[in-house]
Structure formats: structure tokens, C-alpha cells
């Protein structure tokens, strides 16, 4: 292996750092997963007005609480990113970054807790994914979203470990992008399943 290369000396200037760019490309394909799925749901919902009866039974209060939880956690991720940037210049800010990242992770767990209660409540009332097509979609889409939240929590925990030691601070932003995406998906899921 030859002497270490400094990328800036040999490559054209990169507009966006590789990690962030890769996350954006990845998210663009994630958008198509949820976009396609939600579009399908909307079309079927319009075709089947009778689904309204089932949709009325979703727990709007818990959905609203969960919306607030996720939005707030997104705010904390933004703050964590803000302090992580500062910590790159002055390491004492890493405490702040780690504090807000921890809060975001905590709210993520709260979201999953409420979501689990919701599932429990539905299943104990005899509503299952097999009840009808609306509930199949409900369980599948919110389940897939919940799975993404879980993955987001794992990513955040993994980044958190580094932030506490003050290394790899740029990863807060990349993990944050993913977390915001999960949040945005919920912004579409919430009105479609809980409000409409």
C-alpha cells in the first residue's frame, strides 16, 4: 500500500460528505418503499368507503401522543446535531450533544411503548391483522414503521456510545437524517390511519 492519500489533493471537490450523501441516497429509496405503500393504501381506501368504520376505531389519542413524542424527539436530534457540530471545535459541548441524543432515544422508546399498548388494546378487543383488509394495512404499515423506529433507536444508541467519548461526531447528523425520515413517515401515517 502506497503512502496515505489525502482525498482533497487527488479528487474533485466533494459537494456533500460521503456519509451524508450515502444516507440521502438510501433515504430516497426508503421514500419509495413507504411512498408506494401509502399510495396503495390511499387508493384502496378511496375505493372502499366502508373502511371508515374500522378507521374510526383506531386510538386517535394515543396516535396524537405518539406524534408529539416523535416530533419532540426530532427537535432533540436537531439540538444534538447542533451541539455535536460545536463539539467538533470545542469538545466540552459533547456533553450537551450526548444529553439531547439520549433524550431522543428515550422518546423513541416511549413511542414504541405507546405503540405496543395500542397493539395490545386492539388484539385484546379481537381486532387482528386478519379482521379485514384495513386492519391488515394498519398493522403492516405501522408495524413496518415501528420496525424503522427500532432500527433508528439502535443507530442512535450506536452513535451515542461514540458521542459520549467525543469521537465520530459527524455521525450524529447522519443518524439524525434517518431519524427525521422515520418521523416524516409517521406524519403521513398518522392522518391516514388515525384522523381520516
Amino acid at each position: 500500500m502506497s503512502a496515505p492519500i489525502n482525498p482533497e489533493d487527488i479528487y474533485e471537490k466533494a459537494e456533500v460528505p460521503s456519509g451524508r450523501l450515502a444516507m440521502w441516497w438510501f433515504l430516497s429509496s426508503e421514500v419509495c418503499v413507504f411512498g408506494g405503500l401509502l399510495a396503495v393504501f390511499v387508493m384502496l381506501r378511496l375505493k372502499n368507503p366502508i373502511w371508515e368504520e374500522s378507521a374510526a376505531k383506531t386510538l386517535t389519542v394515543i396516535g396524537t401522543i405518539n406524534t408529539l413524542l416523535l416530533l419532540t424527539s426530532s427537535l432533540f436530534i436537531v439540538l444534538a446535531h447542533h451541539y455535536a457540530e460545536k463539539a467538533m471545535k470545542d469538545i466540552k459541548f459533547k456533553e450537551h450533544a450526548s444529553y439531547y441524543l439520549g433524550l431522543a432515544i428515550f422518546l423513541g422508546f416511549c413511542f414504541l411503548g405507546f405503540k405496543s399498548f395500542e397493539y395490545y388494546n386492539e388484539l385484546s378487543h379481537g381486532v387482528t391483522p386478519l379482521t379485514n383488509l384495513f386492519w391488515s394495512f394498519y398493522f403492516f404499515i405501522t408495524g413496518l414503521h415501528g420496525f424503522h423506529v427500532l432500527i433508528g433507536i439502535f443507530i442512535n444508541l450506536w452513535v451515542w456510545k461514540d458521542v459520549k467519548q467525543g469521537v465520530n461526531l459527524q455521525r450524529v447528523e447522519i443518524a439524525g437524517l434517518y431519524w427525521h425520515f422515520v418521523d416524516v413517515v409517521w406524519i403521513f401515517v398518522f392522518p391516514l390511519f388515525y384522523v381520516a
Partner: protein
Amino acid sequence: MGHAKPNFWNTYVFSIDHKMIAKQYLITGLLMAAMGGFFAYVFRMQLAFPGEAVPFFGVVEPGSYNSLITLHGSIMIFWVGMPLLLGGFGNYLIPLMIGADDMAFPKLNAMSYWTYLASIVVLIISFIVPDGPASGGWTFYPPLSANPDYTGVGAGINLWIIAVALEFFSVLMGGVNYLTTVCNMRVKGLSFMRLPMMIWMQLIAAILFMFSVGPLLAGSIMMLLDRTAGTSFFLPAGGGDPLLFQHLFWFFGHPEVYVLLLPALGVVMEVLPVHARKPLFGYKLLLWAFVAAGALSFVVWAHHQFISGMDPRMVMPFAALTLIISVPFAVCMFALIATLFKGNISLTTPMLFTLGMVAEFLIGGITGVIVGASAGDIYYHDTYYIIAHFHYTMVPITIFAMLSGVYHWYPKMWGRMYNETLGKLHFWLSAISFNFIFIPLFQVGQMGHHRRIPDPTEYEFLVSTMPYHKIATYALIVLLLAQFLFIFNFFWSMFKGKKVESNNPWQATTLEWQCPSPPVAHGNFVEIPTVHRGPYEYSTPERTEDFYPQWEKS
């Protein structure tokens, strides 16, 4: 792994060097091609000699016939086409052509290969589970596929779905890596408009794949839930919609054709200028034609569903869009022919395969116009005419272009030259036998043979197709036997072929020909290049040599 001491395991097996990963993709993909080819041999024998025991296989039951065609189709597209054209050529050429020392994320790259390998393991397990392997056709339409009772196949189909999903994840990881690498690791002077077309094609293919596969990934999970958990997303009995799956499938399935086609045309557009000593005609024109084709490929999917009960008002727009999408490819064909015009053409093996690809693909394209219009499609749908049509597109793409690339970059990959005589023999045998397989099948299709009928003699009106089926089967055997020439040439030349003296045996202009043959492990270039001009400067008047490499200072 640049720091660890090189040993057998980290050099050949758990390598994170893009060149080794590309070779792993290449060899695994070729092995899968052998598997897919064998399946084709078995069911073609059944069609030509119905009911007789097939040598090396045995009697083909109708159930196993369904499995054979399903596996042949899915293997050739998902486990041969994508790994070879994207995994193999993408991994090998992207860093070399842009002057990078490796991919942006070498470990992600290795993970992509290992996910691909895992998907093969799952696929092979699906062959041996009770009730046999997947048998729903590669398109996998519900309701037949969505309920195990309908096909009698249980775990085989579930595992097949999981295997396909794993392979999709593998390509997704690769796609993110390719896009990031090309955006951020181009060597100084290599602006986007100086990129070799191969790189552009890999980029557009990666974007098409990433934007189209999502809904099908979701759809395949829904299918799995229908099969295992008892939901009815696609089962009309429970209120589901089987047509929905067709939409999800073809929304992916049509762009997928271009995911394969564009890298194949990338090979063609690299090989043509080098072996014709002419600049590629209309670089920007071609580029925008492919961008347009890529965009249009998202809005033509329903032409696969003309007879599946869609709203007749939707047939017209989809037929019109389908005919419009042939315009960019006509542009491409003319540009390729214009590249050859008054060129100094040398008919080397890679050039022969490239010219073969262009000529055969043209037939595939023109026969596609007939079925792109809904009136023609209603008659030809699901007949052998369709089989012949899409093999005239897919075989030139995945086999001819792929082989052209393997021969063209062979000296760079292995530092030795392949045997030219064997290569030419390989081309002529393959090209002639290929036409003898599928020209008769156009006729079989016109005579009304439906693609899922395993025994034509069971229907009186199909008995007269038998001579054509026999010709096609004999030709297939010739085609398969001819590939042994390639296998021998590939492995023999690797060790005994003539050593390549120069870094640039073809006198080509793109960056991969500046680095040593084979390139340095972990690092590629001895002298890091800078780029001073576009990729296809051949026969420039101001120079005595007929090529002007990208890396040479003016």
C-alpha cells in the same frame, strides 16, 4: 484490511478490495448462469421430446416444469444479470475509471457481495425443501402464488421470496455505494461530462433500481404475510386485489429491464470506440436519451397487463408511452451505428460480441414494438412470441454484452490475454445457435403456443410446432456446449495466456488503462492520474497516435 498481512483468506475470500469483490461477483454470477442454462436445457428437452427422460435430469413432471421455468427466469435476471452487469462490472470499473483507490465504502461493498451469496444459499435450500422449489413463474402472480393450497408448494416459494428480497438488499447496498463513489471520488479534472458512458450507465441503473424496487419489497413482504400469516392483501377471497401485485411487480419489473440494459449498453459504448478508433457519436445526445428512457421506464409498466383486466381507458396512454420509449433507444442505435461509420474497425472478440449485441438487440427492440401496441399484444400475450421477443433483448444484454466486457477487460483483470481464436469461435457458435433457438420460437408463438404448456403434443393445434421446438432445442445444446470454449479460455488464459506487456493493450483512452495490469491490490494506481479531456478522443487530427488518453497532459 490494507493493514493486515495478506493471506489467502483476506485476499481471496473476505477481501474488501473492489477488484476482488468484482471477481467474486463475476465468478459466482457465471456459476449461476451455468445453473440457469442447465434448467433451460432441461425444459427445452421436455418441449422437444415431451415425456421422455431428459439426460442428467430424468422425466419432467408438469410441476417440476413450472419450477424449472420459474427458476430459469429468476436466476437469469436476479442472480446472473444484476450481479454480473452491476456487481461485476460496476465494482471493477467504477473506481478504476474515475481514478479512485477503492469504493467510498469498501466494507459495505463486501457486505453487498456476502448478502448476494446468502441469497444464493437460501435459493438453493429452496430447491430441496418438501413440496419442491418455487413454481409461480418469475412474475409470481397472485392469487395462485399467494395461497400455498393453490400451487401445492409451501416453503419453496417462501424461501424463494426471501432469497429475492436478500438479493435486492444486496443491489441496494451496491447502488448507494456506486452513487456515492462517483459523486465524491472522481479524480481531479474528471467532471461529470467527462465520465465514460459506462459510469453514467451504472449511475442511472442504480437510481432506477433504488426508485423502483421499494414498492415491490413492500409487496413481497405482503405476499409472504398472505402465504404464512393468513392476510389477504392479494387474495380476492378476503377482499384483496390480485391486480395490485401485478402493478407493484411491473412498476419494478419494467425499470428492472433498463437496470440490466443500461450497464450492458455501457459495455457496448466503451468497446465500440476503442475497437473502431472513433469517438463515441453524440455523447450528450446519448446521455440525455438514456435519462429520458430511464424516466419513461417508470410510466410504461402497465403494458405488461393489457389483458389482465385493466381499465380500457388506461390501455391507450400506456401503449402510447411504450411506443415513445422506443425513441431514445432508436437514438441510441443510430448513434452507435454512426460511431462505426468510417471507423477503423478491428473485429476482435469483444468487438464481435458488441456488434452481435447491437444487432440482436435491434431484433428484440423491433419485435417489441409489435407487442407494445395493445392490439398486437392481445394476440401475442403469454405466447412463445413474447418468450422469443424478450430473449432477443435479455440474451444480448446479459450474455453478449457481458461476454464482450469480460473479453475487453480481460487483460486488465488478469494481466494476461485471452486466446483470440477460441474467443472468435465462441462468438460465432454462440451467435448463430442463439438465432436458431429464438427465430423458430417466434413462429411457435404465432402458431399460438402458450408459454406455460409443458407438452405441445397434448393439443392438436400445437402438434405442428414440434419441428420448431426440436430446432430450438438442438440449437440450445450447441449454445450451451459453445460456452465450454469460454470456460476453458477464461481459466486457461488466466494462468497460461500471453502476458500483457503494456498497461494499455487496446490503446484506449479511459483511466483504467493507465494503471498496471492487473491494478495494484488496495490502491489501483501507481501514479495517481489527473484528467485533461473527455473519454473518447480517438483519431484526433492533431496527434500522430490515433488516441489521446484522458490522463495525458496536453
